[in-house]
């Protein structure tokens, strides 16, 4: 009976200890790389029409005096 109990304890503890396994693989952190959602403006700002619109706006409201 005692022998069976000790075997049971060994099996149970070995099963429990499997939860303590630690992944030794290194998670590489890409420093300075933005990981959030993409801003729609990032794509929009690439278009020539957008740049032209801002240039016209500048000429309209910020001309030198």
């Amino acid at each position: 009976m005692l022998k069976q109990l000790s075997i049971l304890i060994i099996v149970a503890s070995s099963l429990l200890l499997t939860a303590c396994y630690e992944d030794v693989g290194v998670t590489l952190h890409e420093a300075g790389v933005y990981k959030g959602p993409i801003d729609p403006l990032v794509n929009a700002s690439k278009s020539k029409a957008h740049k032209e619109r801002l240039r016209k706006r500048f000429d309209m409201v910020q001309t030198d005096r």
């Binding site: 420093a31 959030g36 403006l41 700002s45 240039r55 910020q62």
Partner: protein, 196 residues
């Protein structure tokens, strides 16, 4: 490639704080946070100089370099923006920024600062353009509307310019060439040049 830049002409700034008011009003910036400030040197003395300061949208932004959670990104126009959902309010960007641009809405005990807030060049953030969520977190997205930052558009003396860095620097170069030198080292002629 054009990069959006601010330029504050110290000879023209009259410390009216119109840019500060325009920014706060347009973006509904919370109480205690100033995305833009006017700094005056030798205040009250003849020849005092004022300059309007906010995020200068650095080409190699030190805030982005030190951010431990990488909330910063740069648009094709060179505007430095950030994602408030990722921000942990650690304050590293505040210490790294030479202009003191990053601001925090809370001044609670134990360093609870809240999400960092800064000038967005009126370009919002990583939400749908001109959506309610974007406005509440980042303020107005005037760039998506084809407009430029209101602080510069409102500037009465055109001290503050905002736009394509090449055009802005060209305007400033012309001003410097027009300006008179001694004996009048400050005043109308210095700011606007002699009339031709």
């Amino acid at each position: 490639m054009a990069r959006m830049k601010f330029l504050s002409d110290a000879e023209r700034c009259i410390e009216c704080n119109g840019c500060v008011t325009a920014c706060k009003n347009e973006n509904e910036v919370p109480w205690g946070v100033n995305r833009r400030r006017v700094v005056t040197l030798n205040d009250g003395e003849p020849g005092e100089k004022s300059i309007s300061v906010a995020c200068m949208h650095c080409t190699d932004a030190p805030c982005a370099a030190v951010c431990p959670v990488d909330v910063f990104y740069t648009t094709d126009d060179g505007i430095v923006l950030h994602n408030k959902d990722q921000c942990i309010g650690c304050g590293y960007c505040f210490y790294a920024c030479p202009f003191g641009a990053p601001q925090y809405p809370q001044k609670s005990a134990f360093g609870v600062r809240g999400k960092m807030d800064k000038c967005t060049f009126c370009a919002g953030g990583p939400e749908e353009d001109n959506s309610q969520a974007e406005f509440e977190k980042y303020g107005r997205n005037r760039i998506a509307e084809g407009k430029l930052p209101l602080c510069a558009e409102m500037c009465a003396t055109k001290s503050l310019l905002a736009g394509d860095g090449d055009i802005v620097s060209g305007i400033y170069r012309d001003r410097v060439m027009r300006r008179s030198g001694r004996p009048q080292t400050w005043g109308w002629d210095k700011a606007y040049g002699k009339s031709e």
